[in-house]
Subunit: 95 residues, 4 copies
Amino acid sequence: MTDQLSSTQITSALVRLSNWSLTQDGLAITRTFVFSNFVDAFGFMTRVALVAEKMNHHPEWSNVYKTVDVRLTTHSANGLTELDVKLAEKMDMLA
Amino acid sequence: MTDQLSSTQITSALVRLSNWSLTQDGLAITRTFVFSNFVDAFGFMTRVALVAEKMNHHPEWSNVYKTVDVRLTTHSANGLTELDVKLAEKMDMLA
Amino acid sequence: MTDQLSSTQITSALVRLSNWSLTQDGLAITRTFVFSNFVDAFGFMTRVALVAEKMNHHPEWSNVYKTVDVRLTTHSANGLTELDVKLAEKMDMLA
Amino acid sequence: MTDQLSSTQITSALVRLSNWSLTQDGLAITRTFVFSNFVDAFGFMTRVALVAEKMNHHPEWSNVYKTVDVRLTTHSANGLTELDVKLAEKMDMLA
């Protein structure tokens, strides 16, 4: 199992993940991606889906036309882990 | 532009769309789809995406692993229209 | 129905579609797209699929890992039409 | 690395994979899937893509509207391996 990150580790990760925000309870990070249209938004989601399924770590996300809202947390650890940081980094690269 | 449905038309549509619920404000319908796993959930989303883009009418939806929550409304009509009913019927068929 | 393009129209279109080749029989155009990996290749295919379904005009294509080979023709016209040119242009933009 | 299957192992696998054919050179298996329309064909491809990326073993496939032609082989083993059998079984389940 993957361990929960410490406050220091989370702070350090958020320096690199400059487009992501920590939720008030500290248990998740969120980011909103905005694309040109639905086609680009769903193309992004498909590439993320492939990466997420391979990592066996999936986002909580919602989509309205060209906008994709993402929330990352690790349920089994009841908070943030290295898996969330890795998935956030991959999503940043794919966007 | 597509016209807003009347209360009578909405009631009639919901008889057929037995798995969908009208939101309290009467402006949208919602349904939760649950699949076996992420692969099936995202496969469903891809087929719906193809249908939605062709209709030029897109769902508001969120996905957490094997669950897909859908909300349908027509922004340009500020409420429910025939487009929402058609997309709901298509989603029921694809699920 | 969409009309077959004349030789002059095909020649003119191929000037703009500089990465596409006319097949020897003159009935189709082809292009090979190469991406960084499977994720990017399939993300491209998904965006093209959304565009193609909306146009109601679909590619003949094959995929091996990061490579996508495309052949465009219009069966109902027994040759190339404006639909093939439009889809080729969209694919170039999406790649 | 995954080992090439022996002739006996291939024969045994093909009993279970009754819709698949061995190519004449014995290096690959093939199957044609036919769906109702492009939406269903591409939905199938998306689910297979998720499975394949996770296995790190990808199909060679082509798509024309509602038809998907698949060829499975393991390049690194220069022939058929257990990975091809597993992917074929998954594709049969997803179709």
